[in-house]
Each structure stands twice: as structure tokens, then as C-alpha cells.
């Protein structure tokens, strides 16, 4: 798949299980077993999700070979929300100006009509 950071982040975030994992990790580090508990899926499936999250840089994992506790990494999430915030801002300003433009068109047409 595409490996630029933002695409990796969005792809990783597209799955509801992975989002739930991130929400859990926002409350503090956890082991694979702890993360798997609320889900009706195998440990292997959870491990695959964690791998995707790790590749996207959204989590980091400890060195302890047996437990490898997971931790949330904030930076990629911030980049993702920044993308959304920037684009929201652009479209909002654009549409505000379109509002004004439509008003101008309406005024012009009215004047034309009155002539």
C-alpha cells in the first residue's frame, strides 16, 4: 500500500477494531492480552491489527519479549486531525465567499430586472 505517513495513518484508522484499540491505549499502555479482551477475535487477529498500527507509527511497543506492552503515539494522529482541520477551514472560507458571491449575483439580477 501507499507508504506516505498520512495515507498509512488514515488506512490504519479506517478499521473500527483498530480505532477501539487506540481509544483503549489513550487511557494508558496495555499488553496484547489486555487489548484483546473486549473483542470477539483471536489473539492473532489482534496482533495483526497492532502490526498495522505500529507500521503507521500510531503505537510503539516495549522491548519486553513476552508482553511487549503497547503505547499510543500522538504525532501521526495529530497530523491526521490537522489535515481535517485545514481542509475544513478552506472549505468553510470558500463557501462563506460563495455565499457573498451568490448575494452579489442576486443583487445584480434584481438591478437588471428593475432597469
Amino acid at each position: 500500500m501507499a507508504n506516505d505517513p498520512l495515507s498509512l495513518t488514515f488506512a490504519a484508522l479506517a478499521d473500527p477494531t483498530r480505532r477501539s484499540v487506540l481509544v483503549r491505549l489513550a487511557a494508558g499502555g496495555a499488553t496484547v492480552n489486555e487489548l484483546a479482551e473486549p473483542f470477539d477475535i483471536s489473539l492473532q487477529a489482534v496482533s495483526r491489527h497492532l502490526k498495522v498500527l505500529e507500521t503507521a507509527g500510531l503505537i510503539s511497543r516495549g522491548r519486553d519479549a513476552q508482553f511487549r506492552p503497547c503505547h499510543l503515539e500522538q504525532a501521526p494522529l495529530k497530523a491526521a486531525t490537522d489535515w481535517i482541520a485545514t481542509n475544513r477551514q478552506i472549505w468553510t472560507e470558500r463557501f462563506d465567499q460563495l455565499d457573498e458571491h451568490l448575494e452579489q449575483i442576486s443583487t445584480d439580477r434584481q438591478r437588471e430586472h428593475e432597469r
Binding site: A2, L13, R88, F95, L98, E100, H101, Q104, S106
Partner: protein
């Protein structure tokens, strides 16, 4: 105005304009109109730097000039759908993947139009010509791709 982010990686903006769909659609797809509002605050979009080829596969290109510095931000889009006065969608390839924007225009029947703008960040590998065949196809492929990760 109301807006909400439906998913991370997606942006949805709903706006109601006081004009019928034909007028709003024309504004969104005609250089003479776009030049008045397309560039966000602090930028302008000169008329002679806007290209609109009003058909699926046609170019939708703008250059936003930053007023303070004169720096130019070219945005090179390609229409996927062009269905007046109901729907446009277009892709923009950028440095950070590609973005698909789809805007629907709904007649509210009282001289007003509701537009829903959905913007999705799509990994570049899904932007092949085959994938561009249709937005639906593309989202299906994206879903499949994401499911396979």
C-alpha cells in the same frame, strides 16, 4: 451551516445556499464564478489560471496565489463525475496521497440548495486509471484493500 467529521480521514461539510441548484452548480464549475470565491481568505484564484473541462475525465485545475507572498499553490484535479446540477466529484493528486472530493446539490424547493461536500484522503496506489473508473468502484476497492491489511 452544520458540519461533522464522519470518520478520520474523511471530512463532510453540509451547507445551505440561498440560490437554486442550477445557479450554485454553475458557480462551482465556471471559471468566471470560481475566481470570486475559490481561494480561501488570504489567497486569490486568477481567472486565467482556472481550467474547467466540464465532463468526466476532464481537468479541474486552479492556482491559488497567496496574496502576501505571491506564492502559488497549483491544484490539479480531474473530474470523476460531472452531472449538472446534481453531482460533481473530482480527484486531486497531492504530495500526501490523493484526495477525492464529491459534492452533491439538493434542491430544497424554496429557492435554496443544500450541498454536501465529502472529502476523502485516498492512498495514491488506488488512484490508477482503472480505479478512477468510478467513485463507487474506488470506494469498494478501498474497502477491500483496507479489509486485507
Amino acid at each position: 451551516m452544520s458540519d461533522a467529521s464522519t470518520e478520520l480521514g474523511e471530512l463532510t461539510i453540509t451547507r445551505i445556499f440561498t440560490a437554486p441548484p442550477e445557479v450554485v452548480f454553475e458557480c462551482m464549475t465556471t471559471p468566471e464564478h470560481l475566481t470570486h470565491f475559490w481561494g480561501p481568505i488570504g489567497t486569490s484564484t486568477p481567472l486565467d489560471r482556472i481550467t474547467v473541462e466540464p465532463r468526466p475525465g476532464g481537468r479541474f485545475e486552479t492556482v491559488m496565489v497567496i496574496d502576501a507572498t505571491g506564492d502559488e499553490i497549483p491544484v490539479n484535479g480531474v473530474f470523476i463525475e460531472f452531472d449538472p446540477p446534481r453531482t460533481i466529484s473530482f480527484t486531486e493528486a497531492g504530495v500526501e496521497g490523493a484526495v477525492v472530493t464529491r459534492i452533491t446539490f439538493t434542491d430544497l424547493g424554496d429557492g435554496r440548495t443544500e450541498t454536501v461536500t465529502l472529502q476523502t484522503n485516498v492512498p495514491p496506489m488506488l488512484m490508477s486509471p482503472e480505479a478512477q473508473a468510478g467513485l463507487e468502484t474506488m470506494f469498494v476497492k478501498l474497502d477491500d484493500h483496507l479489509a486485507s491489511l
